[in-house]
């Protein structure tokens, strides 16, 4: 497994394999590039070519990635706290530990590339142009939330950036992704580069029947579709060796080529997805991509995450493979930033997230008529005056009632 070889290169070989300006000052104060070694981060299946083993990255881009990933981390930790304070209700699935996956995919993708994912979608929404306040606002159920407060945790969408959202039902997003891949092919001219579609799903979802149906269609019709398995090693509370007969998920597509990527290494994710986008977008058909990653939290907020794995495993992953520590190390090794500068930046991001959460809290709950909106194209809205509902929907008359919430006033 490549996850074991994680993090070794940058430390031993240093960041500056080539391309970077020699002067430390120049590197720090001017836009500059560094080349990073990601050898050993990939395994391929049925592929003649492979991703590059070096990744060139500018200071701005690496900083941007770090900023996004640290914001994701802070946001998810805040969600955890707000959930425990009962400000967030519902079923809440956190992404911390997997930040490099969404960040790397986003870095490799154009905004016109379609992206659909599972219920673990807070951070994909963030990567796809969302703000912390609109994500957290949705969790609070407030009107300024991503989906007007109507969906909650699993329901973020961004039409402008071709983000088709989270899906509450395990695996249900994948056939939808196949349809969007067909649309991408349909609207491009023959011989032209196509936009691709990616459908992210977990290792637990990978054996859902509908995914096989989608895989067959995509291969049959040569669609620019990336099946992206975020293998965090547990399908809810069951480990991969107990719920899947195949643990090499990147080989699961049989004749569909596969690529396994170190999902804790954001540079490898970016390079791997660039390669996949290039391959699929050139008309070679679909690809299975497996991201080796890990979630720190339980499956959802009602799962402590420690009954089926031990704390040592989580602590070990945190201390040896953390995707954020990796990016920080890259920044320092490339002399893009000093450790102190990173600390200052983290402080600033923490403050920003706090501010955004306060902003989200100030947003009001949606007005009652939102309940009847967006069910059909024509809304079942309250009639003029805003209090009378369609005749077949009865609302209780709270004003004339003696009884409020079952207690006599």
């Amino acid at each position: 497994m490549i996850a074991g070889t994680l993090l070794r290169r940058i430390a031993t070989r240093g960041a500056a394999v080539g391309g970077r300006l020699p002067s430390v000052n120049a590197a720090r104060y001017f836009s500059s590039n560094a080349t990073f070694d990601v050898e050993g981060s990939f395994e391929t299946h049925m592929l003649d070519t492979a991703p590059e083993t070096t990744v060139e990255c500018s200071k701005e881009e690496l900083l941007e990635m770090f900023e996004l990933m640290y914001t994701m981390r802070r946001m998810e930790i805040t969600c955890d706290n707000e959930y425990k304070a009962r400000n967030i209700r519902g079923f809440c699935h956190l992404y911390d530990g997997q930040e490099a996956v969404a960040t790397g995919i986003n870095a490799a993708f154009d905004p016109e590339d379609s992206w659909i994912t599972s219920y673990r979608c807070h951070c994909v929404a963030l990567a796809r142009g969302g703000s912390v306040s609109s994500v957290v606002g949705e969790l609070f159920g407030n009107i300024d939330g991503y989906s007007r407060g109507k969906g909650g945790s699993m329901h973020f969408y961004n039409k402008a950036n071709y983000f088709f959202g989270g899906a509450g039902i395990v695996g249900a997003q994948v056939p939808v992704g196949a349809g969007s891949a067909f649309a991408n092919k349909y609207k491009s001219k023959p011989g032209e580069k196509m936009n691709v579609s990616v459908a992210c799903f977990g290792d637990g979802a990978a054996n859902q029947g509908q995914i096989w149906e989608a895989a067959n269609m995509c291969n049959l019709w040569n669609l620019p579709m990336i099946f992206c398995i975020e293998n965090n090693r547990y399908g809810m509370g069951t480990s991969i060796d107990r719920h899947s007969s195949i643990q090499d998920y990147y080989k699961m597509g049989n004749e569909i080529p596969g690529l396994r990527i170190d999902g804790m290494n954001v540079l490898a994710v970016k390079e791997g997805m660039r390669f996949a986008k290039e391959y699929c977008g050139s008309g070679n058909g679909p690809m299975y991509v497996e991201m080796m990653t890990y979630r720190y939290h339980g499956h959802s907020m009602s799962d402590p995450g420690t009954t089926y794995r031990n704390r040592d495993e989580i602590a070990f992953t945190r201390s040896t493979k953390d995707p954020l520590e990796f990016v920080k190390k890259c920044l320092v090794d490339a002399e893009f930033m000093t450790a102190d500068e990173i600390k200052d930046m983290e402080k600033k991001i923490r403050k920003d997230v706090q501010k955004e959460v306060l902003k989200a809290k100030e947003s009001p709950v949606p007005p009652h008529e939102e309940l009847f909106k967006h069910i059909f194209a024509t809304n079942l809205e309250p009639r003029s005056g805003g209090i009378e509902y369609p005749p077949h929907i009865r609302m209780p008359n709270y004003e004339n009632s003696f009884w409020i919430d079952g207690k006599k006033e």
Binding site: R89, G168, G204, H243, S244, L380, P396, F402, W403, G406
Partner: protein
């Protein structure tokens, strides 16, 4: 487990008031005969709903060596702790985790049951039953009929937690009983309390027809009552009159009966209205007689459920009742149901057919024509 090595014998099971013969395994341990059972189980203990469900499955595993339990994360208790301790007690070959494959779970259950085993499958939330719908509707419900009674999968029970929980949102709150009830060949059961849950689940497991057993998830921890600790069954297809009354009949099922009890209390306390409250218990096949008898007495009917109004199972109750009780009815039958919207997150309390909405309906039918 070596199924082929087990001897098959005939046994008789009382179901729906009839004696039905089915082929099953010889090793089946003696049970209490249905009906009288509840009375003979003398020792009771206070327990919540998930413990009652757990006990029922414990008894099923102990009394039937072919019984297996499987589903997502059930080996370490399941998300609602219903299967807690069973894997340790009966072994991992009898209580085991499945992949996240609902259609697979349903089909697997049919296969195990069709060769005589007892299959207790868990769909983690009733909202996830839809990926399994093909197997349930086209395979499970029709196996007996389409094979001319050569094959059947009557030993299947699919358990699924359903209903509102206060903050479940679109995909953790739905009540799909009406979709399922549109399927001849399927038995659909929804208990209201720990005691009924245990008895009905044991009946469902031993029923010669495939059962979808919907458990109100909001009650798993909150509903606590004395439950007989022994083995007992409650008859399927039979409603229970929870309170008798003379003015208006209220029909409901599942966890929603808590709300209806509250509405009955309000109606009595505020207006002195005497409500007869009926728990259907089995949605399909449902107990027409008990409801008809009651409505012929009261002349008024309110049907209430959490699922959306249009084509909810309440519609079936109303249609049947107007046919049987046309001349007894003194007011239009009222349906107080969930709204015709997807199950909302922040608007759950508006969506829910709460006690006040039901109180409105009760007073409306009482005031009708006055």
């Amino acid at each position: 487990m070596m199924l082929s090595s087990l001897r098959i014998a005939e046994r008789r099971l009382p179901i729906l008031g009839q004696q039905v013969v089915r082929r099953a395994f010889h090793q089946t341990v003696q049970r209490n005969s249905a009906g009288a059972a509840a009375a003979t189980a003398d020792e009771t203990r206070e327990m919540n709903l998930f413990t009652a469900v757990n006990q029922a499955m414990d008894i099923a595993l102990a009394s039937d060596p072919t019984a297996i339990i499987f589903g997502e994360d059930v080996a370490f208790g399941g998300v609602f702790r219903c299967t807690q301790g069973l894997a340790e007690k009966y072994g991992k070959d009898r209580v085991f985790n499945t992949p996240l494959s609902e259609n697979g779970i349903a089909g697997f259950a049919i296969g195990h049951a069709s060769v005589g085993g007892t299959a207790i499958g868990e769909i983690q939330f009733a909202d996830y039953i839809f990926p399994a719908f093909d197997q349930i509707v086209n395979e499970m419900a029709k196996f007996r009929y389409r094979s001319g009674n050569q094959w059947n999968c009557g030993n299947v029970v699919l358990r699924a937690p359903c209903g509102a929980v206060g903050h479940g949102g679109h995909y953790h709150s739905q009540s799909p009983e009406a979709y399922l009830a549109h399927t001849p060949g399927l038995v659909v059961v929804m208990p209201r309390s720990p005691k009924t849950a245990k008895g009905l689940l044991l009946s469902s497991i031993r029923s010669p027809d495939p059962v979808v057993f919907l458990e109100p998830k909001a009650l798993y921890r909150t509903a606590v009552e004395p439950v007989p600790t022994g083995d007992y069954e409650l008859p399927l297809g039979q409603a229970e009159v929870m309170r008798s009354g003379s003015d208006v009949t209220i029909v409901g099922w599942g966890g929603h009966l808590k709300v209806l009890e509250e509405a009955c209390d309000m109606a009595h306390g505020l207006h002195g209205i005497s409500c007869e409250l009926i728990d259907l218990q089995t949605i399909l096949p449902w107990d027409v007689d008990t409801v008809v008898e009651s409505v012929q007495k009261t002349g008024k009917l309110v049907v209430s459920h959490e699922a959306p109004l249009t084509c909810g199972f309440g519609a079936e109750v109303v249609a049947t009742l107007q046919e049987h009780c046309f001349l007894s009815l003194e007011a239009p039958i009222q349906r107080i149901c969930g709204l015709d919207t997807p199950f909302p997150l922040v608007f759950e309390k508006y969506y829910i057919p709460n006690a006040l909405k039901n109180l409105d309906a009760i007073t409306n039918v009482m005031d009708y024509g006055r």
